[in-house]
């Protein structure tokens, strides 16, 4: 079964995402800061990375995504954001933000599963 890495500094979000994904049969590894996140991805080579855009610093998620791409990690990245289209601040997909999809928090279980399956099937 596919292995998914969740990198987020909010333990409740990690737990909620983990429970939902696990019950759908995915294997989960988690990290609560960018450094640990980088480590687990390099060690376990997951099939998908779920990454929160803002951790301690507002751009942590972006920087980590860039770091992955620079180091040739081609794993699809689903980015959690709390500010996006509905709030008028649209990051959009670009070289600056090398992720495969965005999802705005809060995310419903169905939406999460749908996005995850879509990204996993793409590869």
């Amino acid at each position: 079964m596919a292995l998914i890495a969740i990198i987020d500094d909010d333990p409740d979000i990690i737990e909620a995402s983990k429970l939902v994904l696990k019950s759908h049969g995915f294997d989960i590894i988690t990290a609560s800061n960018p450094d640990d996140g980088y480590k687990i991805v390099m060690e376990k080579n997951p099939d998908l990375i779920i990454l929160d855009v803002m951790m301690d610093e507002p751009d942590d998620g972006f920087f980590l995504a860039q770091k992955f791409r620079k180091n040739n990690v081609k794993t699809p990245i689903l980015m959690y954001t709390s500010v996006s289209k509905t709030t008028g601040y649209d990051f959009g997909q670009s070289d600056m933000v090398p992720v495969d999809d965005f999802v705005e928090k809060p995310i419903s279980p169905e939406e999460l599963i749908e996005k995850v399956n879509k990204l996993l099937n793409k590869n």
């Binding site: 019950s23 500010v83 709030t87 928090k105």
Partner: protein, 475 residues
């Protein structure tokens, strides 16, 4: 090359625009002068009774022709130079024009009577405009050379070395001056010109200074503005994070990921979800309003309003199915045109209005959405058979945080920001909004509300008002 540009203006578009415009003035006035000079030669002979010499009849039109030639040259040059401080730029062009004009003026003065030529007054024109745009020392230098040449010319004329070309027919007898007149004339002329430079330069200096202060204040405001925006994003993130977590956990419980859930609890947790969603919407709306006011950021694209309405109903208005409502979309447009507007904003306004209609209409009620058009604008009317708005409160519901009394009594959730936001969005697009209650489809128990928004098809005409609208809003 002398850098004629004040430092602060190096990258200031307004400054360069002003210089370019002034250069264009010069060019246009010069064309007029060419025509005037030719007319003077022709009309002077025939109408004013002047008796111009053979030389003057040849030379004056020749000078007009030379002015015409270099004016065309300058105009071509003006089109092809860029506003780069270190290189030949519009300011150098101004200086070049000034020098060419003053040289030509000297020649003209010589051929129209030297000390007796009335044309000497033209120098004042260049003095003042030159002083407004060029650094003082440059104007003083140019003018000093001009005055020196002028003085030499009239001195030589006085000494009888230079033969002046008087305009016969303008004087009763050939004018003769003694040394006192010549000296006084030169002193008065020179002091008039130099004093004009001094005064014009002082005034323009003060204006530049003020402009400089304004420019730096503007820069500061931009910096602060950016900080503020970042701060707002930060705050919103901080507020949204815990609410998102609450929502996610509530979803887990509701979808029974943790344990089977008795109905009594389910209902309460639904309430947790609804209330926290309300908080989330409030934060989103606050952020949206502040964005609209602080930044003048809107994009215009072609949008299909009917499609947006259908999407909004499918995605955002969950009340419709749970409350078994009747929904009618009546597209009464004669031409199905796209709207030129900001898609995200219009979507937000429409979703606020339609979701409100569903929200404040009891079970098995009815919501109608009518689309009507005229030549230049689109009208969207949203009618419901809901609780309506007390007539005394209609004028207040568009105020921020205002909630009608009947809404509060019946425990509908909401922040009172929705309509304020809608109004802001519609204003920004140059449209209008009106609210009526009761509506056509209401009944005795539920009078219903009808909200009509009117948006022009193209917002280009309202772009100029846009800033005004934003400025008018109290922050």
């Amino acid at each position: 090359m002398i850098v004629l540009v004040p430092k602060w203006a190096h990258h200031y578009d307004e400054f360069w625009n002003a210089i370019r415009t002034r250069n264009l003035w010069f060019i246009k006035i010069r064309y007029l002068f060419v025509v005037a000079l030719l007319l003077f030669v022709i009309g002077g002979q025939n109408l004013l009774g002047l008796d111009l010499s053979y030389k003057q009849i040849i030379v004056l039109p020749l000078i007009s022709f030379i002015i015409l030639l270099y004016n065309i040259g300058i105009q071509l040059l003006r089109r092809n130079i860029q506003c780069i401080p270190g290189k030949f730029n519009p300011l150098h062009l101004s200086l070049l024009q000034m020098m060419l004009d003053l040289i030509t003026l000297l020649v003209l003065i010589y051929y129209t009577g030297a000390i007796d030529s009335p044309l000497y007054i033209f120098a004042i024109f260049h003095t003042i405009i030159g002083s407004l745009i060029l650094p003082g020392f440059v104007v003083y230098a140019v003018l000093s050379v001009y005055l020196l040449l002028y003085t030499i010319m009239i001195s030589l004329q006085y000494l009888g070395i230079l033969h002046a070309h008087h305009m016969n027919g303008m004087y009763l007898a050939t004018p003769e001056h003694n040394i006192t007149y010549v000296l006084l004339f030169v002193v008065i002329y020179a002091s008039m010109l130099l004093l004009s430079v001094y005064i014009a330069n002082r005034i323009s200096h003060q204006l530049y200074k003020r402009e400089q202060q304004l420019k730096s204040s503007l820069d500061q405001i931009e910096v602060v503005e950016e900080k503020k925006q970042k701060y707002i994003i930060g705050v919103v993130h901080e507020i949204k994070s815990p609410i998102s977590a609450i929502q996610s956990i509530a979803d887990l419980i509701l979808d029974e990921y943790i344990a089977p859930l008795p109905d009594v609890l389910k209902e309460k947790i639904e309430r947790i979800k609804i209330r926290s969603m309300e908080g989330l919407n409030l934060v989103n709306n606050v952020l949206f309003i502040s964005r609209l006011r602080l930044l003048n950021l809107t994009s215009t694209e072609k949008i299909d309003v009917l499609k947006i309405i259908q999407e909004v109903i499918d995605k955002r208005c969950s009340d419709m199915n749970t409350k078994e409502m009747e929904l009618n979309i009546n597209d009464k447009r004669t031409i199905k045109r796209d709207l030129q507007a900001d898609k995200i904003l219009i979507e937000l306004a429409i979703s606020n209005l339609i979701c409100n209609a569903f929200k404040y209409t009891p079970k098995e009620g009815r919501v109608d959405v009518d689309l009507i058009d005229d030549e230049s604008s689109l009208t969207i009317e949203i009618l419901d058979s809901g609780i309506g708005i007390p007539s005394s409160e209609i004028k207040n519901v568009m105020n921020e945080f205002y909630r009608a009394t009947n809404v509060k009594k019946q425990k509908y959730e909401g922040s009172g920001l929705g309509l304020a936001l809608v109004k802001e969005v519609i204003d920004l697009h140059g449209g209008s909004i009106s609210i009526k209650s009761p509506s056509k489809i209401g009944n005795i128990n539920n009078p219903g509300t009808s909200i009509t928004i009117n948006i022009p098809y193209t917002t280009s005409a309202t772009q100029a008002d846009k800033k005004q609208t934003i400025d008018d809003v109290k922050i």
